[in-house]
Every structure is written in structure tokens, then in C-alpha cells.
């Protein structure tokens, strides 16, 4: 009969022999989030030293505001990665969201109340298609979402003939540029969104189930967890977040183009990875994703301030993903062979 290897608890290095009373899911996962927050501080302080005009309160506020897009987009991506998947159509859906809201409102506020739900529904619908594809087709998620992105961008291209929309509802633009009680509206939005996102991912039963499915799909199946339903739901949420991002982006830029979301795809993945989540799923708290989004937005602003080119931005981003991955693995590899 088969004998088994001795129990190998290849867990986190942080687990010590004396059991300290730690709460579930927090602990070793907080570390990367804190490290990334620290890195962001270092970045800001460094820039301040290098360039005295950098880092004024207004500028920092502006950084926070521009972070909103990545914060929203990376939450959806983060849930999908938590499940062990990935969404490569995010950029396309953001663009579609932006184009839709612009196209439906055409510079006036009349249709806004209907346009927002319509746009969100459409973008969530694309997410739904992704989710159904991943849940049913047994093909790698990166292929499903890559091809759906290409397909839907083709559809959008056909419908809009590639033109950009110059007129977005003024109420949206006002929202992105105004303040409430001295705090810019976008930042209030971020605060509320982060709260809701964190609650969902780390304080609900459904969030717990997502961690389980990502951690061990086999065990989840035997337990009878609703894997297909949660998969579809998560990708739909991803589409929804992309739609929200598109709407906000359109309001901020006062215009919309189909490819305006493309620059957010890779950072959305990077934010999740930097925040400490494993790409195979099952680990990583939302705080980490948020920290990652904040860091990357700050980095983006720094790069722009330094007048570095897009190429440099991509190179740095790619490098950061690789470094984050290496650091992650360093924590996981406990002993020798």
C-alpha cells in the first residue's frame, strides 16, 4: 500500500514553533502591504529631496486622485487573480466603458442617470462572458480573456468606427474635479470604495470562499463550494470595476478613446502582484492590492515629473513585477530541498 511522505508544512517562514494567537488570514500577509506603503513613502520623500517643488499638498492630492483608476481596476483584477485566473481584457473594457458613457451622454447631463447603469451593465456583461468562458471552457483564463478582449475591441471598433468622443457629461467632469468639505470627491470615492472592497474580500463569507477556491480548487470541489457561480461572479465584478474605471476616466479626461484603458491593464496586474498576492491564487489581502495601486500611481506621477518616456515607464513596471515576484518567492522558500 502506498506510504506517504512525512508531513511537510511548507508554510510561510513567519510561522514559528510557539503558536501565537494570530487571527485568520492576517499576519504574514500584512507584511508585503506595509512594505509597499513604505516604498511609496520612500518614493515621495526621495522625489521631494531631489526636486523641492515636488510633494506639495496639492500635488500629493493630485496623485491620490489619479490613483482612483488603478485602485478600482485592480480590485476587480485582484479578485480574479485570487481565484487563480487573470483578466487580460480589462483595458479594453475600460475603454468601452469610457466610450459608452461619452457616447450616451454627449456632453449633457440629461441622460446621465440612465447612461451610467447602461454602461455598467454592458461592461459587467463582458465580464459575465469572460466568467462563463472560464468556468465552462476549461481553457486557461489568459487565453479566454485575451481573445474576448480582442473580440470586443473589434466590436467596439466597428460600432464607433474608431472615432473618439469629445463630449462627456459635465456632471461627471465636475465630480472628478470638485471637492466636498475640502476633500476632493474622487478621494472620498476612493475611501468608500476601498472600505467596500476590503470588506468584501476579507470580511465576507463569499470572500473566504474565494480564498479557498484559489488555494485548492480540488478541495473546493469536493466540499461542494459553488465554484462555477463564484467564478462567473468574480469576472463579472471585474467587468463592473472596469466599467466604473472607464466612467471615471472619461470624466477626468473630458473625452474618451477606445484605447484609453490599455495603459491600465498591466499596472492592474502589477498592483495585485506587488501587494503580495500569488498569481496562482489563494493568497493576498486587499490592503496589499490597494498599496500596490497607490505605489504604482505614485511611480507613474514620478516618472511623468521626471519627463521620462513611456518606454522607461514600461521598463520600470516590468522590472517591478519581476522584483516583486522574486521577493515573494524568497519568503515562501523555507528550507532546502
Amino acid at each position: 500500500m502506498r506510504m506517504h511522505e512525512p508531513p511537510i508544512p511548507a508554510g510561510h517562514a513567519a510561522v514559528s514553533k510557539t503558536p501565537a494567537a494570530r487571527r485568520a488570514l492576517i499576519g504574514p500577509e500584512l507584511l508585503p502591504a506595509l512594505m509597499v506603503f513604505a516604498a511609496t513613502m520612500v518614493l515621495v520623500v526621495g522625489m521631494k529631496i531631489a526636486n523641492h517643488s515636488f510633494g506639495s499638498f496639492d500635488q500629493l492630492t493630485a496623485i491620490m486622485v489619479t490613483a482612483i483608476f488603478l485602485v478600482v481596476a485592480s480590485f476587480g483584477q485582484g479578485l480574479i487573480i485570487l481565484l487563480g485566473g487573470i483578466d487580460l481584457s480589462l483595458g479594453v473594457v475600460i475603454g468601452i466603458g469610457g466610450m459608452m458613457i461619452a457616447g450616451l451622454t454627449r456632453g449633457s447631463d440629461d441622460a446621465l442617470l440612465l447612461a451610467i447603469p447602461a454602461t455598467l451593465l454592458c461592461c459587467a456583461g463582458i465580464g459575465l462572458v469572460n466568467g462563463i468562458g472560464v468556468a465552462l471552457a476549461k481553457l486557461p483564463p489568459f487565453i479566454i480573456t485575451l481573445s474576448s478582449g480582442i473580440t470586443f475591441s473589434g466590436v467596439a471598433l466597428g460600432l464607433t468606427a474608431g472615432s473618439s468622443q469629445q463630449s462627456v457629461a459635465p456632471a461627471l467632469q465636475k465630480f472628478m474635479n470638485s471637492s466636498f468639505l475640502g476633500i476632493p470627491c474622487p478621494i472620498l470615492f476612493i475611501i468608500l470604495f476601498v472600505l467596500a472592497a476590503w470588506l468584501f474580500q476579507n470580511r465576507t463569507a463569499e470572500g473566504r470562499k474565494l480564498y479557498a477556491i484559489g488555494s485548492s480548487p480540488g478541495a473546493a470541489r469536493i466540499l461542494g463550494l459553488p465554484i462555477a457561480a463564484l467564478t462567473i461572479a468574480v469576472y463579472t465584478i471585474g467587468g463592473l470595476c472596469a466599467g466604473i474605471t472607464g466612467i471615471l476616466l472619461a470624466g477626468y479626461s473630458s473625452s474618451a478613446t477606445l484605447n484609453m484603458g490599455d495603459a491600465l491593464l498591466m499596472p492592474s496586474i502589477a498592483a495585485v502582484v506587488i501587494g503580495g498576492a500569488r498569481v496562482t491564487g489563494g493568497s493576498g489581502i486587499y490592503l496589499g492590492t490597494f498599496a500596490g495601486a497607490l505605489f504604482l500611481s505614485t511611480l507613474s506621477t514620478v516618472i511623468t515629473t521626471l519627463s521620462l518616456s513611456q518606454g522607461f515607464r514600461d521598463l520600470v513596471q516590468g522590472g517591478i513585477i519581476l522584483i516583486a515576484l522574486v521577493l515573494q518567492s524568497g519568503r515562501l522558500i523555507v528550507g532546502s530541498r
Binding site: I86, L88, G133, A137, K138, L139, P140, F142, I143, I144, L146, S147, S148, G149, I150, T151, F152, S153, G154, V155, L157, G158, A161, G162, M266, I269, A270, V273, R278, V279, T280, S309, Q310, G311, F312, R313, D314, L315, V316, Q317, G318, G319, I321, L322, L325, V326, S329, I333
Partner: protein, 323 residues
């Protein structure tokens, strides 16, 4: 009984035979619509359009065979393209730029391979990182489309030798190299590692070196594809194409290589690349409007990959494993 099943499987040839058969069928259909396709010029034209995808997908096949994923192909192609466009007429010349891009491809493959094989990182994430970094490097070398590819390159790769189109020679060479690899020790190791890493390790196979090899060679294949791509467009373009990445996977999958590793081969991938190219040409010949091609690409890729995986599954479906 075990003997006869192996025989049947050898005759069925796994997915590659099916793909080659499909290729012939599609070529016939295409030729019926476009009789000029049967001429030497026509075939040369098809080969011309196929060779970039074939080279890139071939590299990807090696990585997929040993059980990993690689998204960095389009990034290396972009770098190769812009490097040739900026140096082939000047500093490095035709041969020098070839050597340079091969070195770059090998270097990127080294990074991927080291991180995946030796640090045990997830290949999807790593190659995503290198893809983005490569895009950055390409943009740094050539921020906007431009540059110039030396005439020597364009003429050589679009021309022919003794009546045989250059792309055909390239593909034949590549096919030949693959057959040599398949029957070498490294070939056996690639298939072993892709099938069962643990068993391979227990059998003494150097799993890490095998994966590193796959990534480095695939990097060089991507570089080669980028070099040939230059001849196609005659100038440099630093932008990577999402569609191309999907095409690469579709070619690999249609050719019968399983995305889980351990089954398939380059011959099937070459057939898959041919099928996709002819499909594109058929769509074009049917007058399908440009923006519909995106939609078709997306949907057809999915179907192609789906059925490709099915065929790889069937090829390995005959098992006598008990409970």
C-alpha cells in the same frame, strides 16, 4: 495489446497529423478560390506571411512542451524589430544585427528561464513582467515607428534561392533542427519534464537546465521571427500586438501541442501557423471588412485553441490506467 495501441497512436501521430491534414484541406479550398495560390509565387506568398508566426510559435512550442507558459514573445519580436531597424543600415549591418537580436532573444530567455526554473516563479507572471519590460526597451530604442531595414535583409528574405522561396528554406531549416532536437537527449528531457516533473527528477533528469534551455531557445526563435518580420515591413515598429500573442497560442494549440505540456511538437505548430495564415488570407479574399477581422480573430482563436486542446486530449486519451 499494449503494442497495438502504441502502434495506432503512432499512426495517428497525435495532433500533428490531424493539423497537417487540415492544412492541406484548407489550402485546397483556398486554391479553389484563388487559383494563383498554386503557383510558385502564390505558395511563396503564403509562406512569406506564415514564416513570422511559424518561427514565433515554434519557440513557444518548446516552452509549452516542458510545461510552462510564455507571454514574452511579442516583446522580443518588438525589440528585435527596432534593433534591426536602427542598426542594420548603420552600425551593425545585416549579419551583425542578426547576431545582436539572437543574443537579445537568448538574454530575455535567460531571464525568464532563470526565474522560472531556478527560482521556481510562476511562468505566467514572470513572462508578463518580461513582456512589459521588453515593450519598454523597444520604446526606448525607437520611441515611434521609423528606422530603416537594410535592403540586403529585405531582398534576401523576400527573394528565393534557385527558385525556392527564402521563407521555405527558413522553415525547412527550422523543421530540420526540430527533428534533430526531438531525437536528442534534450528532446526526451523536454517531453519528460512537461509530462511529469517529479518522475523526471527522480529519473535523474536535470529539470531546471531543461526548462532554461527551452526558454533560451524560444527567446532566440522569437528574435529570429522579429528579424524576419523586419523584411516584411521594411521598418521598425516598437508596438507589440496582443493579437499576435493569441495567434501564437492558437498555432501551438491547433498543431496538437497540449497547453499542459508533454505532448505535441513543432511540426504540428508549423501546420497550425499555416492554417491560421490561410484562414486570414481567406477572410481577406472574401472581402471581410477590416474591423470585422478583429472579431473573427478573437472568436476563431478561441475555437481553434479549444479544438486543438481537444485533439491533444484525444491523442493521449487511450489509457489503461485502472482506478
Amino acid at each position: 495489446m499494449a503494442k497495438s495501441i502504441s502502434l495506432i497512436r503512432k499512426m495517428a501521430g497525435g495532433g500533428a497529423t490531424a493539423a497537417s491534414a487540415l492544412l492541406c484541406v484548407m489550402f485546397v479550398i483556398y486554391a479553389l478560390h484563388e487559383p494563383s495560390a498554386l503557383s510558385l509565387f502564390g505558395i511563396g506568398n503564403v509562406l512569406n506571411n506564415t514564416v513570422v508566426l511559424a518561427l514565433a510559435a515554434m519557440g513557444l512550442t518548446l516552452v509549452v512542451l516542458c510545461g510552462e507558459l510564455d507571454l514574452s514573445g511579442p516583446g522580443v519580436i518588438a525589440i528585435a524589430n527596432v534593433v534591426v531597424a536602427t542598426t542594420s543600415t548603420g552600425t551593425l549591418g545585416t549579419g551583425g544585427s542578426l547576431a545582436a537580436v539572437l543574443a537579445i532573444g537568448a538574454a530575455v530567455g535567460c531571464v525568464n528561464g532563470f526565474l522560472v526554473a531556478y527560482l521556481k516563479l510562476q511562468s505566467l507572471a514572470v513572462s508578463l513582467g518580461t513582456l512589459i519590460a521588453c515593450q519598454g526597451i523597444a520604446l526606448l530604442v525607437l520611441p515611434a515607428p521609423g528606422g530603416e531595414v537594410s535592403d540586403a535583409i529585405v531582398n534576401t528574405l523576400s527573394g528565393d534561392f534557385f527558385g525556392i522561396p527564402a521563407p521555405a528554406i527558413v522553415l525547412a531549416l527550422v523543421g530540420g533542427l526540430w527533428l534533430l532536437l526531438k531525437h536528442s537527449r534534450m528532446g526526451i528531457w523536454l517531453y519528460a519534464v512537461g509530462t511529469d516533473e517529479q518522475a523526471s527528477r527522480l529519473s535523474g533528469v536535470n529539470v531546471r537546465a531543461t526548462k532554461l534551455f527551452a526558454f533560451v531557445v524560444s527567446g532566440m526563435c522569437y528574435a529570429m521571427a522579429g528579424y524576419v518580420y523586419c523584411a516584411e515591413i521594411g521598418s521598425g515598429d516598437p508596438r507589440i500586438s496582443d493579437s499576435f500573442l493569441l495567434f501564437m497560442y492558437a498555432a501551438v494549440a491547433i498543431g496538437g501541442t497540449s497547453l499542459n505540456g508533454g505532448r505535441g511538437g513543432v511540426i504540428g505548430t508549423l501546420a497550425g501557423a499555416g492554417i491560421l495564415t490561410i484562414l486570414q488570407k481567406m477572410l481577406f479574399a472574401l472581402g471581410v471588412a477590416d474591423f470585422y477581422t478583429n472579431i473573427f480573430n478573437g472568436i476563431i482563436m478561441i475555437l481553434a485553441i479549444f479544438f486543438g486542446q481537444l485533439s491533444a486530449l484525444l491523442a493521449g486519451a487511450q489509457r489503461l490506467r485502472k482506478a
